[in-house]
Homo-oligomer: 356 residues x 2
Amino acid sequence: MRKILLTLIILVSSAAFLSAQRPSVISPEVHPDNSVTFRFYARNAKSVSLDTEILPAPVKMTKDDSGVWSITIPPAKPDIYPYSFWVDSMEVNDPNNTYLFPNEGFKHSLVDIKGDKPLVHSLQNVPHGKVSYRTYTTAQGIAGTLVIYTPPGFDAKGTTRYPVLYLIHGGSDTEETWTKVGKANLIADNLIAQGKVKPMIIVMPYANTGLMMQKAFGNDMINNIIPFIEANYPVLTDRNNRAMAGFSVGGGATLNIGLMNLDKFAYVCAYAPYTQTPEFNANFGKWDPDVENYNKQLKLFTIYTGESDQYRQIIDRTIAIYEDKKFNLETMFVPGGHTWMNCRLFLATTLPQLFK
Amino acid sequence: MRKILLTLIILVSSAAFLSAQRPSVISPEVHPDNSVTFRFYARNAKSVSLDTEILPAPVKMTKDDSGVWSITIPPAKPDIYPYSFWVDSMEVNDPNNTYLFPNEGFKHSLVDIKGDKPLVHSLQNVPHGKVSYRTYTTAQGIAGTLVIYTPPGFDAKGTTRYPVLYLIHGGSDTEETWTKVGKANLIADNLIAQGKVKPMIIVMPYANTGLMMQKAFGNDMINNIIPFIEANYPVLTDRNNRAMAGFSVGGGATLNIGLMNLDKFAYVCAYAPYTQTPEFNANFGKWDPDVENYNKQLKLFTIYTGESDQYRQIIDRTIAIYEDKKFNLETMFVPGGHTWMNCRLFLATTLPQLFK
């Protein structure tokens, strides 16, 4: 829809609204057969490649007489994929695509291949929850940011009290990545509408995912974030109604915080956890837990990963720590790598298992 | 803070988390005297310039031996400024800066020069309202997006009922531009804390700002957006408690919708309104209004603009339409152009005048 509107703007008044240096380029263009054309204007570039998680490696684009480079890639499985352009030696996002991947380390664009049937993360015609941005005060006395999903029909002052999932992003992601890329809100909307998921609040903090900062973030979770949520939302405050999940460095944080605070969490779900951190070594290096008690108290303890995840060795060693100790750990291995396509699948697998 | 964390990540484990092709570059770096260093890695580029709204024209950057281009610009007035890099003939945003300008037509980065004293748009230690993302159903039956500010202490189910400002973005902006660039939420937080502004709800729709689409957006405002807000929030529903403001094409929309629906709005505030649209011509080309009635009913009717706004001629002609007819129009002319620095100033000027 926005593409159509943008095209209209261009047709009506291109001089007034768009820089004269930039021709009107549509990119990405998803075709009915799920093939996609990517276009990029760079008249003087020597080489432009498309780097997308749809394909295993970057592919060269070709330039037309107007200086627009393009490539059409074969039909892809419907999903949302990150991509960027390599222009000579420089990586850039797609200037013609509004849909960006929120991240502090890279700036990728996203292409949404919707397909014919609605996906678990698609915007569907179901009741929608609300996504709110709020600030709380961190241990350092500065404002921290939380993105908070409240389910459809959420009643802030009513008698209903909700369970809470604390959902942590990956290294260099931001508090927006789980909604804007992970579509946590739409996945919850859709599964709640299908009656498969209990209405819950999902709290997505900016998680200071620096490897040295994990201890600080853990303290912040326990001392500031959870108390903020419990003071401001009608939530159930027993451990059976509190879950934690996270991806990559956030998956490592989930193991650290979840397992070291068994009195607070009954559900601990790590997605492709990155655990090469001082905090993880301090917690689990010489760990001698009461496994029987853990197995009794943890209602769900999962580690999921893509089979070809770039951190697969680390993840396998992490799984071994818990399996060697006979934890009731559920593992799942799915095709693909350290991707947000898999994060959405992991979350959609976890949500129906929470708070039952 | 994030910069520090990111630096820590880089120090600890650059190979694991950042592409090997990209050196660790800090950009922008705001110095204590409010000068700013911008850096950009592009080993093979022939020429890189900084294009920023701080300076009147792009300035050339210089390359060091590691392929990093940089420039330090003189101390600037504290504010938030858009900027981009021109790399040979191509405009790109800053890959090392997470803070982006939400826009469908360009992708600028933002540099926040905070200065010594808190500004009206700064994050201050005051009670904070909430920014929520919600969907409603448009006239076309598709999901439209609203960003909604609710003030500190907002009580969804209580006895307090709130006035509402409908605040519209500019051409090619998105529903996020008024918060992420315009800082409407922080401006409201700060002025409410100072007792200068009445607690209110601010509704920032995705406004279909295509020039041909203004009529559709106007219908959507009246038939879908306002009813959605009134069904879902505790708001005052009389015209004296409903205001509309907007920037650029959204300023034109404000004049169209606000003045054509006098029964709905008592406050109509246009910021640098762009009015070269079929809708505006249809409404005001041969307009013969009951001016006395308008002047009686409008509690505030303003057109503000930068003195050197690129649409200044159009804006002056627009002002003349109303001044020639003896409307009680308040105008304000401030230094600068068609910028969001001015939008923040305009909004901070408007808010204390609403709902008094």
